[in-house]
């Protein structure tokens, strides 16, 4: 790089022009240094002739390929990082914030917390303020909520106990078309802490319940159903994430029931 003296005088003009052209890199900073420091002059004498070569090499026109590549990689990296940051921010939002952001959800924990309070389990039929109920006093036995799909109405007195354990209970009007019911069943089957049952007298085709939360929708394709399940299943549990959904009532019928008495095994 420092040996190409022969080209000297002829090339210099070229060098000068190229020295200014590239906005980035050495020539630019060099130009600044040059103007700022006349002190450079003494050095010029001896080694002047061999310098120009470097800028000449740079002056072959911009290498758009690498530039484009770097820009592309940079944009891609920024996109990935940006999306990751956004996604992790969204994902780390507390579940109740996400739930409250669902359009049309009713949060009874805020609007009517007293309706959720109770002293102890109560047996037999109970009356509920909301339909379907979203919490409050309930029977000792809970309805099985291991992704159970019930084809007939179940007892609210047992279902509310399931809500207390963190279940999402999806109810639908008995006249809901079968393909819609099948769609709902597809969201429930095999998913613990969910259950599905028809419910008489619903004012909307479909209603979703978690402890203290309710969302009523018209259609099984409504995206808010998945959001409701994602945000409130397990999270809405009053007794922590491992409260049971098994060993509960598996029978249908709206008369609340206790577990069958079994003969002691010992």
């Amino acid at each position: 790089m420092s040996i190409s003296t022969p080209g000297g005088p002829e090339r210099r003009p070229t060098v000068v022009s190229t020295g200014k052209k590239p906005a980035a890199g050495r020539p630019a900073s060099g130009a600044k240094a040059g103007t700022g420091k006349p002190a450079g002059t003494p050095r010029a004498g001896g080694k002047g002739p061999r310098k120009p070569v470097t800028p000449v090499k740079v002056s072959q026109g911009r290498a758009w390929g690498p530039i484009a590549l770097f820009v592309a990689v940079g944009v891609l990296a920024a996109g990935i990082i940006g999306y990751g940051a956004w996604a992790s921010f969204q994902g780390s939002k507390p579940w109740d914030k996400r739930a409250n952001a669902i359009d049309g959800i009713v949060n009874y924990r805020k609007t009517d917390p007293d309706s959720l309070k109770y002293e102890a389990h109560k047996s037999g039929p109970l009356t509920y303020k909301y339909s379907p109920p979203v919490g409050g006093v309930h029977n000792a036995a809970w309805q099985n909520c291991m992704g159970d799909v019930y084809d007939a109405p179940i007892a609210s007195e047992n279902a509310v106990h399931s809500l207390e354990h963190g279940a999402v209970w999806i109810t639908y009007r008995p006249d809901l078309p079968k393909d819609q019911v099948d769609k709902l069943a597809g969201k429930v089957r095999g998913v613990e802490k969910t259950m599905l049952s028809p419910y008489e007298g619903l004012d909307k085709p479909i209603s979703l319940q978690a402890w203290g939360y309710q969302l009523k929708v018209d259609n099984a394709d409504d995206k808010r159903i998945d959001e409701f399940i994602k945000d409130l299943r397990v999270n809405a549990s009053v007794e922590g994430p491992t409260a049971l959904c098994n060993t509960g009532i598996t029978a249908t019928g709206t008369t609340p029931r206790d577990l069958q008495q079994q003969p002691p095994t010992q």
Binding site: P9, R12, P13, V15, V16, G19, R26, P27, S29, G30, A31, A33, G34, K37, P38, A39, G40, T41, R43, A44, K47, G48, P49, K51, P52, T54, P55, Y118, E119, A120, H121, A140, A141, H165, V238, E239, G240, P241, T242, A243, L244, T247, D258, L259, Q260, Q261, Q262, P264, T265, Q266
Partner: protein
Amino acid sequence: MTAPATTDTEHDDVVAAPHEGGPAPARRYGVAALAIMVVVGLLLGYAGGLLTPRLTRPGDSSVEAGFARDMTTHHAQAVEMSLIAYRSATLPEVRQIAVDIATGQQGEIGAMQTWLRDWQLSPTGSQPPMSWMSDGAAVKDGLMPGMATPEQMASLRDAKGIEVDRQFLALMYNHHLGGIHMIDAALAETDNAEVVRMAQTMKSTQQSELNNLRQLQAQAKG
């Protein structure tokens, strides 16, 4: 040389500077130094980010670690009692609350053990039980508040019929009372958000279970 000389000077600074020393190299090194400073700064920030949780997480003799270890022990006995009642009690409600307690508390044990792993602490401590509590004098014969004695456990295992229900309900009632006492102590002394959150869930769960246990005790008497 005259005309080119000016251009030469310009290029001199550009290319020759590093070879010749003087103020120009400082400028060049300035860029390198700036780059190094940025990199070092980023590394320091990263190290700080790594170290902060490490330095602020609960230590071996902390309230949080003591609570996680002792409540694991406390819960473990509740799980044993509950599984006995789930298998052998007469009243369906008793069996049902028993299995609920057993799985719920076993789940909480899992969470507390995960804390200890996250804090890189042993599940076992070197300090006597309850020493994390400021009024830790409550340990009797190595048993934390509310825990059943070995004799009581033996009696529960041997019980038959409704007697299982009665003994279980009485033991679990005291067990929860003692548990809530420990939970309150932890809540009073920790500001670890995760510990607070779970301790509060534990407390409210055990409080409502106390009501249900008392109700069942009345039922089991009759």
